[in-house]
């Protein structure tokens, strides 16, 4: 073992980085950006769910509990009528609503407290604070001698069998396809540059649009086979709940694959080596992963980040996938059409950007 030779290797390594400013920047800037984003996302999020209260109690208890709930820090309450409840859950303005039935006070005297809790249910665990707040309000009113608390929970979507995997699975089916297709495209397009074949293509009668379209079709075919495999595995093996049309899921995956292929072609113009191309992965994928609502619902993000989420294609893709699989949305749903439209719009934008940045001339 020669210290001299080891030192030579170490020095060679650091000398190389000195000339690759982008890698150095990534090494030291990216962790701060990613951690900062995560911190802002979690600390700045408003996680207090909006809950509607419909009080039909003929006795006094309903009003008292409603009043106690309005002072709870765990939830934000609004008074609604029961008839509006489901519509407010569907449009996303409420996470849950509680109905105190007409005989609520009477039941309580009979030793049983049974408020009706209607939850939206597409996000597991989201209604836990609602039940918790309700229980705490009752305890604060009646002390330890409280009657038996038996809320009747109804789900708009999902249900008791619906778990975390069902929620994340819908989003991940899309994310996996998007991510892998992006990585494969950016690296193989860069290969085309570095092995010199792109120069040959440019000196041939091929038109730029033909190159981009050829790439797009090739990778989309691969992506669709992959998407089908992922879908079959998710539904048949993992048994992720699906209430929608399988073809719609597949269609959404196809749109995402096309967007990912063209994002890869577009970004490959800004990388000189595979090494630099790989660096786009954390820059492109991590913020989208954090901000597209896969883990943290967009509605609970701090205002500035919600705006950022609104311009990321994956946000719409994830939302669309969940609408199809969890809520059973079909083509009559305007929300799904909007999501699909935005993802398609991004794909078209990226096709144009990829074609425009692919220059025939070298300089």
């Amino acid at each position: 073992m020669s210290g001299h030779r080891v030192r030579a290797i170490t020095r060679r390594l650091l000398q190389g980085f000195r000339r690759d400013r982008r890698t150095v920047a990534l090494l030291f800037v990216a962790p701060i950006v990613i951690l900062g984003l995560l911190g802002y996302l979690i600390r700045g999020s408003s996680t207090v769910p909006d809950v509607g209260i419909a009080n039909q109690d003929t006795g006094p208890l309903g009003a008292t509990v409603a009043d106690a709930l309005s002072r709870s820090t765990q939830i934000e309450t609004t008074t609604i009528s029961e008839a509006d409840g489901d519509a407010r859950l569907k449009d996303g303005s409420l996470v849950a609503y509680i109905v105190f039935p007409a005989d609520f006070s009477q039941q309580a005297q009979g030793g049983q407290i049974a408020p009706e809790v209607h939850v939206e249910g597409s996000q597991p665990g989201q209604y836990a604070p609602v039940i918790q707040a309700l229980g705490q309000s009752l305890i604060s009113l009646a002390g330890s001698s409280a009657p038996k608390f038996q809320p009747k929970v109804t789900y708009l979507y999902g249900g008791t069998a619906y778990d975390t995997l069902d929620y994340f699975g819908a989003a991940f089916i899309g994310l996996i396809v998007f991510f892998l297709v992006f990585v494969i495209t950016i690296v193989s397009f860069l290969n085309e540059r570095s092995q010199g074949t792109l120069e040959r293509l440019m000196a041939s009668p091929l038109r730029r649009g033909e190159i981009v379209l050829g790439y797009m079709i090739g990778f989309t075919v691969l992506a669709l086979i992959q998407a089908a495999e992922v879908l079959v595995f998710a539904l048949a093996v993992l048994k992720i709940q699906n209430h929608g049309n399988v073809l719609l899921i597949f269609g959404m995956e196809a749109l995402m694959a096309i967007a990912a292929v063209n994002l890869g072609i577009f970004l490959s113009m800004f990388a000189r080596s595979e090494f630099q191309a790989v660096q786009f992965i954390p820059l492109v994928i991590v913020p989208q992963f954090l901000l597209s609502g896969i883990i943290f619902p967009v509605s609970s993000e701090p205002g500035a980040l919600q705006w950022l989420s609104g311009v990321l294609p994956l946000t719409y893709a994830v939302n669309g996938m969940r609408d199809i699989m969890v809520k059973g949305a079909d083509l009559s749903s305007s929300g799904l059409l909007l999501d699909a439209g935005v993802v398609a719009g991004f794909a078209i934008l990226l096709i144009a950007a990829g074609t425009a940045t692919l220059r025939r001339r070298l300089g």
Binding site: A203, P205, R361, L362
Partner: protein, 238 residues
């Protein structure tokens, strides 16, 4: 513009930032001739070839190929370009590579002939990544000529090739020229110059001299082409 020239450059200049790669170059290549572009590394040979096939656009002067001002995509069908390093798809077989370049030039036939010409037909099923350097170079040549271009641009085609193969390459080139193909071959190896019908000597982005090997010798005042070149280069510099 006289149609007898396959390639015609008039007063062509090209800079990359502050660096003047080509400075007022005039160059004429007749149809069916082998034109040798000679000069040391960094003289501007590759830049010149890239201008001819439209990969670069001249800042001054005009580049005309087969009667058309370049860059012009429709002319590219008639141009074959062999890059300096063998640019091939390493995961495809030799035959698949040649088929691909035939297809993007709108040709379906000629793959077998091209592979036979470079004597790779027996190895056509071999994946390029497993071929030797010389075989890759030959495969690269086959890709450049499979669509039977009228103008064949060869950027240092014999670099890194053993003498035996170099003789073979020049044999192919002569056969193609005899069949009417115009060839522009760049090289920094002087002993290849004698195999060309006409030569252009380039240094520091300028054309120092142009003519047949015999003419260049008399211009440089030496029977040795290398010495003639050095004499011409020295004369320009002073």
């Amino acid at each position: 513009m006289s149609e007898s020239y396959a390639v015609n450059l008039e007063g062509v200049s090209k800079s990359f930032g502050a660096f003047k790669a080509l400075n007022g170059v005039d160059l004429r290549v007749r149809r069916g001739e082998i034109y040798g572009l000679l000069g040391p590394n960094g003289a501007g040979k590759t830049t010149l070839i890239r201008l001819i096939c439209g990969l670069l656009e001249a800042q001054g002067g005009t580049v005309t190929v087969l009667g058309q001002r370049m860059p012009n995509v429709s002319v590219l069908r008639h141009i074959g370009y062999m890059t300096q390093a063998p640019a091939l798809y390493p995961g495809l077989s030799a035959e698949e590579n040649v088929e691909f370049f035939a297809a993007i030039n709108g040709v379906e036939s000629g793959v077998k002939e091209a592979l036979e010409l470079v004597q790779l037909y027996e190895r056509r099923k071999s994946v390029v990544a497993t071929l030797s350097g010389g075989m890759r170079q030959r495969c690269s040549l086959a890709c450049a000529l499979v669509h039977r271009p009228e103008v064949l641009l060869l950027d240092e085609p014999t670099v890194g090739i053993d003498p035996q193969l170099r003789v073979q390459f020049w044999d192919y080139f002569r056969r193609m020229a005899a069949a009417g193909t115009t060839l522009i071959v760049s090289s920094h190896v002087m002993d290849e110059a004698d195999r060309c019908q006409r030569l252009g000597l380039i240094q520091y982005g300028r054309l120092l001299a142009e003519g047949s090997p015999v003419e260049i010798r008399s211009q440089g005042g030496s029977q040795n082409l290398e010495e003639a070149f050095l004499a011409l280069a020295g004369r320009k510099e002073s």
